[in-house]
Assembly symmetry: C2
Homo-oligomer: 499 residues x 2
């Protein structure tokens, strides 16, 4: 790894952090960020030295405060800067003398409001000292494991009733890296991921990306063992050349799911006024993503659907899939969406169809079940029928993935089919995704049960189809680039460690 | 209203109900359905006479049981039939002599498994006596207000731990009629609607629709004051001629949102084996829906998104909308999706832009805010800025709707902007929809708060765009057919009654 990329490690594993502009004022960014670090130090997750910098305070939250960065004894790996934009370059200059490796510049008031010169000045000073910069105008970094949290959005808010409720939760540790140009979307993503129990390996918001860009962060994540999937929100790409080189390298080892917004003309105009991004022709992006294996999500729902599938399930090669359902209508809806996204749901081969007939004759499944694909066990399903049918479907050579639609409303379907299906699935390299529809207790329970067994579950048949599409699209990319076997081997190794 | 349609009223408001095949066996359809009625009678929602029919029982749940329907004293308005398919025609014959108006045939084993003759026999007998039939092979009817509930899916299920959890909830009373050809999708829809606090006026599952079809039910709902929106799932249409006539008549008074599945070739094949439906060429359906004003949903999420928008918000005419956001990235995503669905997000007129500049000069909004549309108040937003900007946007003549993206993560945004926005919105005929992203406490709270004020709120910017599209699509249809003013007058009357 290049030295400049290696340096990014100081964002996630700093031995010492200075918060420049730390304060106690309620609701202020400098207060929230400093409190994040102080709390995490107390909790024992942040193990480094912590220096609040504020010319007017003696101590903050019981921690000795320094008037300037220069006054801090010894080196400072990482600084988080919350001072007014005009003062930022000076702070970076000071940091240079403290051997600082990385700076998160929270402060706004740079390129995004036309102050290009001010931003270039910061870049110049940082370059002089070899300091890597995230921002300005960003949320910076959240890394649960080491307690680095420069997000200035409070975890809790007080309602007018006085009640405190969770506002911007920090997700648990996990294997999804969430990388974003938009801080607002980043915080929303944290909220979504936390609420859906999807763990995060690293969170990075790079705002104006005056220095560290999407390509730099991607390159860093290439070697990050905790990151298995990268979710990334972009409005533009800093350097197309860098991106093409890095994104493909990363995609060969771990999937990248991307929202590239500004895809419409009006959207591009809005993006320009948001981050000054020149969104470029959308078709160029599509071509670049296809070349590099980046999986593009059309919208937020798809973004998280695909991320969830890829972080928990193995990819595969092919476009034809099997569907097993206990619900006719949702089965048809799932087939419709599969075809819409370029998958097929072809009739099974004769030997498998014959075996399904045997199941009928032996009373293992109902005579009225449809078995041509989708397999529809009908509303009279019981758990064993689901499991025995799943087992048979895994033996069908023509399919590359299976979608299970187990609507729990059917009177005879209990929960035992879930573990049954999971045990069978573990014996095969065919990816599966599950679906149960509903927003009350048993639907949530069923999906959660699948999720906990490592089988991604969705709340609509169409979402399940999109999840499967992501797995097969990524598998196709890996295969084309002779990287599938290595990926599956790595995936299986990780799986074995978990068990 | 025709006599045959008027008769459908017995499905929803029967003075007496006989459950033929009532029993006490755990998990059996006949037991669950009879218990539904018995419980609702106890609760006082079902006020009619209740007759369990079972040759082997003296009484069931404390209610006198009859060996046959013929033994029941007096007339029976509605029968629910759960006996084996071969015995159904005989039961209908008996019902004819009891002046029965309506029969829900739960029993399967008819056309859907090739027993066409058996089904035709049932139709013949029913016709002889003028009995309207729902089914066979259906869930029948759920109507919270009168306690009619022929759904044989138990409300609760027992997990292997012994814990009882909600499995198929019955939603509260409300203004959405949910009509479905697929019972499985119907039950899933009930689960979704209950979980999302969307109230249901009438639920009808017609399965094989041997008699009462989508057109009949739609025609009945035309005059149903409790139904403001019809959500309908179909795999085929029984009579295209009837549908064209009725659907348009209904659409002029209340919106119909439709999933017509089997839109792909493989989906059509799956539908054929599910309900024997001949799905037909999808483009023909598209044309029919356009002609009749039916709003077609491409998938389940869109189905409910649109239904929610149309049941709580007024439609309008036009395609250009305004977006007000505190989150740049999600603002861009919303613009992208608006353009994708055929809406525009054009720059505001000069007078409004000038007024936004005044707001900046007076310190009412931040100087760094973008105001060209979308209006991006930035992450430094506070509630008052949101409200004052909303107020100004309502004065922009070129827009037909407004999407509010109020991401609660911004430190300065509290909850008061929600009521502020609602108060302003009440003064204008411009529809609005709201969005906050996240799956934890404050996101759920914010969306719920909007919902309770009658402003439909969504969890992604793209969902909000689809909701707005539905409102403008429906408004366009009404306008083209000179029905908009009448609709809005009716809408406002209802709104006034509520307050």
């Amino acid at each position: 790894m290049e030295e400049s990329i290696k340096k990014l490690d100081a964002f996630f594993n700093p031995r010492s952090v200075a918060v420049i502009g730390a304060t106690e004022g309620k609701g202020k960014a400098g207060a929230i960020i400093f409190k994040n670090f102080a709390t995490n130090k107390q909790r024992g997750t942040f193990k480094g030295e912590l220096y609040p910098i504020n010319p007017k305070a003696q101590e903050l939250l019981g921690i000795k405060c320094y008037k300037t960065l220069s006054e801090v004894p010894g080196d400072v790996d990482l600084i988080v800067v919350i001072v007014p934009s005009g003062a930022v370059a000076g702070v970076i200059e000071e940091a240079g003398k403290k051997n600082t490796k990385a700076a998160v510049i929270i402060s706004a008031g740079f390129k995004e409001v036309g102050n290009n010169e001010l931003e270039e000045q910061v870049v110049e000073v940082a370059k002089k000292y070899g300091i890597r910069v995230l921002g300005p105008n960003c949320l910076g970094v959240f890394y649960a494991k080491t307690g680095v949290d420069s997000i200035f959005l409070p975890e809790y808010k007080e309602l007018s009733t006085g009640k405190e409720i969770i506002a911007t939760p920090r997700p648990l540790s996990g294997n999804i890296a969430m990388i974003t140009q938009s801080g607002a979307f980043g915080s929303a993503a944290l909220d979504y991921l936390a609420g859906r129990n999807m763990g995060v390996s690293k969170f990075v918001s790079f705002g104006n990306k005056c220095d560290a860009s999407e390509s730099d962060v991607l390159e860093y994540l290439l070697e990050d063992e905790e990151t298995h999937v990268v979710l990334i929100y972009l409005e533009d790409i800093k350097s197309g050349k860098d991106f093409l080189r890095v994104a493909k390298k990363v995609s060969l080892k771990k999937p990248i799911v991307m929202i590239k917004s500004g895809r419409s003309e009006a959207g591009a105009r809005a993006a320009a006024s948001h981050t000054g991004a020149i969104a470029g022709t959308d078709k160029i992006y599509d071509a670049a993503f296809e070349k590099t294996g980046v999986i593009r999500a059309k919208n937020m729902n798809e973004f998280f659907i695909m991320g969830k599938a890829l972080v928990s399930m193995k990819p595969a090669v092919g476009t034809n899939i099997g569907i097993l359902t206990d619900a006719g209508g949702p089965g048809v809806m799932c087939v419709d969406e599969c075809e819409t996204v370029g998958l097929t749901v072809n009739k099974f081969s004769d030997p498998i169809l014959a075996k399904f007939e045997e199941l009928k004759e032996n009373g293992k499944i109902l005579k009225i079940a449809a078995t041509h694909n989708p397999v529809d066990l009908t509303g009279s399903v019981v758990d064993d029928q689901f499991v025995v049918s799943a087992d048979l479907m895994f033996q069908e050579k023509s399919i590359s993935g299976i979608i299970f639609l187990g609507l729990h409303h059917m009177p005879g379907l209990q929960e035992t089919y879930i573990t049954g299906v999971a045990q069978i699935a573990a014996k095969y390299d065919i990816p599966i995704v599950a679906c149960d529809i509903g927003e009350t207790e048993m639907a949530l329970y069923t999906r959660d049960h699948f999720d906990r067994l490592g089988l991604p579950a969705y709340s609509s048949p169409e979402d399940a189809a999109h999840a499967m599409k992501a797995l097969l699209q990524y598998g196709g990319f890996l295969q084309k680039n002779c990287a599938l076997d290595a990926y599956i081997a790595e995936y299986n190794k990780r799986k074995a460690v978990k068990q």
